[in-house]
């Protein structure tokens, strides 16, 4: 087996050194009846060469329609952007790819410095004071934010906007209702619902996504004021990080915690994962923050360096009193995020955001010009919602049959909500070419007519 460096001779010699008759002796603590043979795994094949494995997996891969191979307009929490070739090249450097969490800082400055740079970038994008070195993804980051708010306010209730991505809401509900209470406002596509009424003395936090799941850009200022007036915190959620290049930063609108999905910068679609959770907050809350932190310090020679810090918040030190149970996070996805953003820089990032918005507005105008199709979201960044004259899921299937991936139908996200039946959530990015948009417009016109 190509990955195993020990030869039969090596194994024999090692057993001699250990002074046991055979390998079984090393497993003597395992109850005999629990030891099984090859037959127990009869359903599984023996080892195979690269060529064979590559054939099998390539065949599976060929049964999917890659986003890049067709006109593609899906978003709803995962976005297709062009990632410069140097990003994927750099994250595959052995020293990044095959290293562990930087527990030994003297030989992990590479990782620690990029995490420090990542934290800074996230703080700048979100307009917050501090950010951590990543959580799993946007949905789990949102859940952690709610738990943190419950700890900070010592209040049980979390109020979720109806514009919050339903997968995020479900994730929050699963976790935050264990020790508290979760109230979900009904979804009102294209409207910023009035949440103030739902806040009371019990309320730990308000969770509002902007752009929301329908694409609507929300003004967080009023909700922040409403929350703060009642001693509650505002948690702002962002699923399309690129929007922060054009839209006001949540921090500037009064958010206390920002939980975001970082996938759309530097990371591919990957059928849903791995992604990278961004988490930023106010400096005063840092000791209640979940996740790893890279901090600046000096070495014995006086040189600047970085280390994992404030670990007294973490499970490996505080155990059941930790702020979170997270250990492995999204390290390499942070790196991709950091490199892509370093390449973009301030100028590139805002150009990218403008280009996305421009593409989306043009497309929205053309699509909503189709008879029977109307635009549900008056304001949006690169994603908007349409009302169709037919059930959106069947329309999407019809489009797919024509070789077009034309958005996310409402029922896919709200399976039990008939009122979402005719809604189609459409995203356009810099990767949606003129021709792609033409194809989409023409196909949709056909399908709905």
């Amino acid at each position: 087996m190509r990955y195993l460096p020990l030869t039969a001779d090596d194994r024999r010699a090692m057993l001699r050194t250990i002074d046991v008759p055979g390998i079984d002796a090393l497993f003597r603590d395992v109850p005999k009846e629990a030891v099984v043979g090859r037959d127990a795994f009869a359903a599984l094949p023996d080892h195979q060469g690269e060529l064979e494995v590559e054939r099998t997996l390539s065949r599976m891969a060929a049964q999917n329609v890659p986003a890049g191979s067709v006109p593609f307009f899906l978003g709803a929490g995962a976005y297709r952007h062009h990632v410069p070739a140097s990003v994927d090249h750099l994250i595959q450097r052995s020293e990044f790819l095959t290293s562990y969490t930087p527990y030994q800082p003297e030989v992990a400055q590479g990782t620690l410095q990029y995490l420090f740079e990542f934290q800074t970038q996230v703080a700048l994008l979100t307009g917050m004071e501090v950010a951590n070195a990543s959580l799993y993804d946007g949905s789990t980051a949102t859940a952690e934010a709610v738990l943190m708010a419950q700890r900070l306010t010592r209040r049980p209730k979390a109020v979720l906007s109806g514009g919050l991505h339903p997968h995020y809401a479900a994730t929050v509900q699963t976790l935050a209702s264990l020790g508290g209470k979760v109230v979900r406002a009904p979804a009102e596509p294209g409207r910023a619902e009035d949440l103030a009424g739902l806040i009371d003395e019990e309320t730990a936090c308000l969770v509002v996504q902007s752009p929301d799941v329908f694409g609507l850009i929300r003004d967080l200022k009023p909700v922040a004021d409403a929350a703060h007036a009642k001693g509650a915190l505002l948690i702002a959620v962002v699923t399309e990080a690129v929007s922060l290049g054009l839209i006001e930063a949540p921090g500037a609108m009064g958010a206390d915690i920002v939980a975001a999905e970082g996938q759309s910068i530097g990371n591919g679609l990957n059928f849903g994962g791995p992604y990278v959770g961004l988490f930023a907050t106010r400096e005063k809350f840092v000791r209640q923050m979940p996740g790893r932190l890279s901090g600046e310090t000096v070495d014995a020679g006086g040189k600047r360096g970085y280390v994992l810090t404030l670990s007294t918040r973490e499970q490996h030190i505080r155990r059941e009193k930790a702020t979170s149970n997270i250990c492995t996070n999204s390290g390499l996805c942070c790196l991709a995020f950091t490199i892509h953003l370093a390449l973009l820089g301030g100028e590139g990032f805002s150009r990218l955001a403008r280009q996305n918005h421009a593409r989306a507005t043009t497309l929205a105008d053309r699509l909503s010009g189709i008879k029977g199709v109307s635009l549900v979201t008056p304001q949006f960044f690169n994603e908007f919602t349409l009302k169709l004259p037919k059930p959106a899921d069947s329309v999407v299937d019809a489009l797919a049959a024509r070789g077009i991936l034309g958005g996310v139908p409402g029922l896919r996200l709200w399976p039990d909500h008939a009122e979402m039946r005719d809604l189609l959530i459409v995203a356009a990015t810099e990767t949606s070419s003129e021709e792609d948009c033409d194809a989409f417009v023409n196909a949709l016109a056909e399908v709905v007519s």
């Binding site: 997996l57 479900a170 791995p274 499970q315 059941e320 996310v408």
Partner: protein, 518 residues
């Protein structure tokens, strides 16, 4: 000195090596590297994106007022920046990485290549199911491998890492309890457990009771049985445990737990010691997470991402979280709402958006198919063999708290350093000078100055012998009083010892223009 006509010397002058202080601050191939924010310039950009002028009509008056403040760099500068940073890291690809409990094994590049096939890497989680049948088939195939290897009937795929899998497992248990109308709130966790275990239990709303360890490193099964009661929701054991030992009395403890109506959660982080030889399902396990980034070698990437699927017993299977993957005449389908869930199932909720770490799934399956059932067993045996070889070779020079044989990792304590003035930390830092990444230090907590060494199956005998020679040599130097080699170490790494206390006292967690000016 002899020279040729171009004034080029034709022979080498040898002389003593002076202490060289460089003007640049760089030293040979070791370059210092500033922060991105110290390198960037305003008008520079590492991408070419046409500018689009646009109206604010659709921005709800919320166009960003202040510039984000990101530095501008050209592509060559960005590439150089990260290449230089990378060169300050230790990696498996560059050397033995004996970080106990972390399983730093070889990361095959085939798996990276497969994960990047457009059919896997460039598909959206919400694409119509008929356009992702191959991706769903891959998940199903991986589920088949995982359930077969563990001997368990079901597996939940969405957890994003081990700790997330623990949470998923405990929430499944909680749901099962509640469906029985019970509200049990206690979970028994051994003192040797990894920090994520108690942390997860607390997160899931349970009270944690610590089960003591026996002097031999095993969980005190008698104590555990005494602590069991009908207020106990579950026992949470790690097997093989964090001392690198297989819990002999697992089955017993499982039965005892089941007897009082509790469940048995097994931390499967160390599954790599027994995969292909032992099926947790045969040991009475009800739920166990598998760190694909350990046992099945998806790269650790400096801290992630990983994946932590949780295998479940028949008793817990019905409570697995959404989404569920089913197969019928129409092919593979994802069930995303309780409403659509099969009759006798009660999904407890959702662990996260979408359906798990696909990128890791591809890598793990590629790894499994490459090894095959025979190779997976051989890998486990080699991992255990290597650990025991190290234990046997070093137990007299260093000090081992427990008798062998061990499983996949060899545990030492700092007894052998007594009176030397050298600590486990110092010893670890001296290993860095020797070109080795240190083992896991000060974990598990049940032994003093713990040194947990996991060589994995990826090292050749020559490599292990070399490591043993160096470790023994260091031990002897420590005992013979060469304290300074240790206490000030490392001397030869990109940085000398870093001040963690200072970092925590007044945390500097980001770059700011203001601080930079000062």
């Amino acid at each position: 000195m002899t020279m040729n006509t171009m004034g080029r010397p034709t022979a080498v002058e040898t002389m003593e090596v002076p202490e060289v202080r460089t003007i640049s601050g760089d030293r040979g191939l070791d370059h210092e590297e500033p922060l991105l924010f110290e390198l960037g310039r305003k008008d520079m950009c590492g991408v070419d994106i046409p500018d689009s002028k646009l109206s604010d009509a659709r921005l709800n008056g919320l166009r960003r007022k202040e510039a984000v403040g990101l530095p501008g760099l050209s592509e060559p500068e960005v590439v150089r920046h990260f290449v230089r940073l990378s060169r300050m890291n230790y990696a498996i690809d560059a050397g033995l990485y004996p970080l106990g409990s972390c399983t730093m094994k070889h990361n095959p590049r085939l798996n990276e290549k497969m994960a990047r096939l457009p059919g896997f890497g460039d598909v959206h989680p919400l694409q119509p199911e008929q356009t992702v049948q191959g991706a769903l088939a891959l998940i199903a195939e991986l589920m088949r491998w995982l359930t077969t290897l563990t001997g368990m009937p079901a597996v939940a795929m969405s957890p994003k890492a081990g700790a997330h899998g623990e949470l998923c497992g405990l929430l499944t248990i909680r749901a099962a309890m509640e469906s029985r109308g019970e509200q049990r709130r206690r979970i028994l966790v051994p003192s040797s457990a990894h920090g994520t275990n108690p942390a997860t239990a607390a997160l899931a709303g349970f009270a944690v009771d610590e089960v003591p360890a026996e002097p031999n490193g095993h969980v005190d099964a008698d104590a555990l049985e005494r602590m069991l009661g009908n207020d106990v929701a579950a026992i949470m054991l790690t097997n093989p445990n964090t001392c690198g030992l297989f819990e002999r009395r697992t089955r017993e403890m499982a039965d005892a737990a089941h007897k009082v109506g509790a469940y048995f959660y097994c931390d499967g982080a160390n599954f790599n010691a027994i995969a292909g030889r032992v099926r947790p399902g045969d040991l009475g396990v009800d739920a166990m997470h598998i760190n694909l980034h350990k046992t099945f070698s998806t790269p650790h990437g400096g801290g992630g991402p990983g994946a932590g699927p949780v295998v479940l017993s028949a008793a817990l299977a019905p409570f697995a979280p959404l989404p569920l993957l089913v197969h019928d005449e129409k092919g593979f389908r994802l069930i995303e709402s309780p409403g659509d869930a099969p009759p006798n199932t009660k999904p407890f909720g959702r662990m996260c958006a979408f359906h798990g770490q696909m990128g890791m799934f591809v890598r793990a399956l590629s790894y499994m198919q490459s090894h095959g059932a025979d190779g997976i067993r051989q890998a486990s045996e080699d991992a255990v063999l290597a650990a025991n070889y190290i234990l046997a070779s070093l137990k007299d020079t260093l000090s081992a708290p427990f008798e062998g044989p061990c499983m996949h990792e060899a545990l030492f304590d700092d007894h052998f350093l007594e009176g030397t003035g050298v600590t486990t930390l110092d010893f670890a830092k001296a290993m860095i000078d020797e070109g080795y990444h240190p083992m896991t230090m000060y974990f598990p907590l049940v032994v003093h100055g713990a040194m947990l060494i996991e060589p994995t199956e990826s090292e050749s005998k020559e490599s292990l012998d070399r490591f043993i020679r160096v470790m023994a040599g260091l031990a002897i130097e420590a005992k013979s009083g060469h304290k300074e080699r240790f206490v000030g170490a490392p001397y030869l790494a990109p940085r000398r010892r870093l001040d963690e206390t200072r970092a925590a006292r007044k945390p500097v967690l980001r770059w700011t223009a203001k601080a930079a000016k000062e």
